[in-house]
């Protein structure tokens, strides 16, 4: 029984080593810092993107201008 236990312990130890070594080959990609850095790269490629659609065409009504009163030329004063 003792020998079996010893063998099992060795197997467990082997597994630990295998898992630890395996971790080194697994690709761990830190996504969050990569996203921030990708944004910086995109900044260099794409200038700030603003919609080129005219404002009036997306439903914002232009403020109505007050009617301009016609300028009347002064009436000639009859003498």
């Amino acid at each position: 029984m003792k020998h079996h236990l010893r063998a099992l312990q060795l197997v467990v130890a082997g597994l630990v080593i295998a898992v630890s070594a395996g971790c080194g080959t697994i690709s761990f990609f830190p996504a969050q810092p990569a996203q921030k850095a990708a944004d910086k790269v995109i900044d260099d490629i794409w200038p700030p993107i603003q919609p080129t659609v005219p404002v009036a065409s997306v439903g914002i009504a232009k403020e109505k201008e007050p009617p301009v009163e016609p300028v009347m030329s002064p009436k000639p004063v009859s003498k």
Binding site: V16, P30, A31, P33, A38, I45, P47, P51
Partner: protein, 155 residues
């Protein structure tokens, strides 16, 4: 499974072994995570500078077609022609050629950034990261294609 579990529980030596195993795995994964380098996606090499310049110069041509919906962004970090009818007949071939050039440059960009980080295995992750960021940074009204091939108009 139950037998193995009972066997481990009954045996104090084995129990100790499993405990040691758990601690070792925890420590090794923690140490690995702590030592994993942060990807320097904004890394600059002569090759990356050239690719970025090429992409920036091409954007002036692509932009009206992105706005008209003739082309769109894809879920894999590239672009694709969405609606040929939105392109003038005499420009179709030119647009298709430029889309191909753009995709070539984008693929090179992801590959070069991965290589510059000494992690060529990150290329696929970088591609996914950029795909998400391109779409997120796109203007409203532009189209992007999901993994099922469906075109979605960004609101």
């Amino acid at each position: 499974m139950a037998f193995a579990f009972n066997f481990i529980l009954r045996n104090w030596r084995l129990r100790g072994g499993v405990f040691v195993l758990l601690i070792a795995v925890t420590l090794s994964s923690g140490a690995y995570a702590a030592t994993t380098p942060t990807p320097d996606v904004d890394v600059s090499t002569p090759a990356i500078v050239v690719i970025k310049k090429s992409l920036a110069a091409r954007f002036k041509f692509l932009r009206p077609h992105l706005e008209s919906g003739a082309i769109g962004l894809t879920h894999d970090g590239l672009i694709a022609v969405r609606d040929l009818q939105a392109i003038a007949v005499n420009e179709t071939l030119k647009v298709e050629a430029i889309v191909a050039e753009e995709n070539k440059d984008r693929a090179s960009l992801y590959r070069e950034i991965a290589r510059a980080n000494g992690r060529p295995d990150w290329e696929s992750d970088l591609k996914s990261t950029f795909a998400e960021r391109w779409i997120s940074r796109a203007a409203s009204g532009w189209y992007h294609r999901d993994s099922a091939g469906k075109w979605i108009r960004k609101m």
